[in-house]
Symmetry: C2
Subunit: 227 residues, 2 copies
DNA sequence: TCCGCATTCTCTGTATACACGGCGCGGGCT
DNA sequence: AGCCCGCGCCGTGTATACAGAGAATGCGGA
């Protein structure tokens, strides 16, 4: 694997998992030393991250990890609403029914995943990713896939803010199961409706979590600067 | 201005204006010599172009200018339908009525622009861009803006394939006027409907142009390779 | 004559050295 | 004592040198 790919993957992982918090300045020499690559591939990695919006280039001061405001989360979900609904619509037309029926069944049995010991619920989120990939594959649209990819990087980072209690996750699983069943049935209207429902509930949950997160943990902006 | 920015702008211009046709291999040393920059900033420019989908990195053989198939045009407009409708919807909510009323009036008087001498209709397309920018500004959504930006780069290139006769351009102007008036009126449903109409007609026109273009000018794939 | 292998050549990927610019700090002047 | 100017350092932006990998071509054998 190329050094620039390793640097990109490492930085992206560090950002979405909050090891590098918003506001952190990513100096080239510092990061290249930390990651064990030279400045050239690191610059390529930073350019890719900036194109995805995970970092932003500040004139003279290098690139900084972007922050996530309430307004941005709402904006993100506005675009997700448009893209995910279109993806669900296209997938419902071109889908292989067996694939989505199988996914629906796994979501309907997801309570075992959610009840598991892992506090990060990796098994459950892996299943969600499987559905995302299946929808992308069925939609078969490279532009849609590309646009979705950029949004999902932000989304994984936002997810860490959410208080993922079992209650919400069980509801989320049911919503995903509804989406998968609708796509399996080839019902575009239903697939779109189910997607709208899910995104609405997800955003509502995230906004509530973000409010309590800001209130309880990082009330001032200073906490973002001493990374 | 930075050398990487100049290289990016020059290459992007060369690609969207068909001076570099699809299939052309952009070797780093060759292009860096042609553009008068060194390989490092050129690589950054190529990376940005590849992220936008105007070029694609082929393992070992460098980056090549991507081609535009009928299927890709349809895919592109599927995503545009989702994003432009969402943009129109958001713009209709947050708009400044005066801005869009003025734009609607200019589109209604656009026959003078279309009747002009310029075969490329730059004045008219500049007006279209003004509307795009106004919608983006009114929608006020950075993620939407980012996704739109990537699609529009492809679109400008596709536009060059279209046989822009006065008839279609007059109809297009009327459709844009309808969109602007709907947004000015704050009517989201109407703005979405007008956008759908316009995109449908645009795609139909482009597909017809592409068919005759492929049939009359580049029937074989060889023409893409000797760039 | 055709297929396969090896060699060579070119191109990418990476590292490093250098230049330019901005920002901060310290000293001097008012 | 406060403000302004200048010097120095750190940071990015660019150029270039080097190494490794992949593809094309040519030669030899079947």
């Amino acid at each position: 694997m190329r050094a620039s790919d390793r640097a990109y993957a490492a930085l992206k992982s560090d950002i979405v998992e909050w090891r590098l918090i918003p506001g952190t300045v990513l100096a080239e020499v510092e990061q290249s030393a930390r990651l064990g690559v030279s400045r050239t591939p690191l610059r390529e990695a930073l350019a890719r991250l900036s194109a995805e919006g995970l970092t932003a280039a500040q004139t003279g001061r290098g690139v900084v990890v972007t922050d996530i405001s309430l307004a941005k989360m709402t904006q993100l979900f506005d675009v997700r609403l448009a893209l995910d609904c279109k993806a669900a619509e296209l997938a419902a037309v071109h889908r292989d029914p067996h694939v989505f029926t199988a996914l629906a069944q796994r979501f309907e049995a997801a309570s075992s995943l959610i009840a598991g010991a892992d506090p990060d619920r990796r098994d459950y989120y892996a299943l969600v990713s499987e559905l995302d990939v299946a929808v992308d594959d069925a939609a078969d649209n490279q532009f849609l896939r590309q646009a979705q990819g950029q949004l999902r990087a932000q989304l994984v980072r936002i997810r860490r803010l959410a208080k993922d209690n079992s209650e919400r996750l069980l509801a989320s699983a049911a919503e995903h199961a509804q989406i998968a069943r609708s796509i399996a049935g080839g019902n575009t209207d239903l697939a779109i409706a189910a997607t709208k429902i899910h995104l609405h509930n997800s955003l509502a949950h995230l906004l509530a979590s973000k409010l309590s997160f800001d209130a309880g943990f990082a009330p001032s902006r200073k906490a973002h600067l001493n990374g």
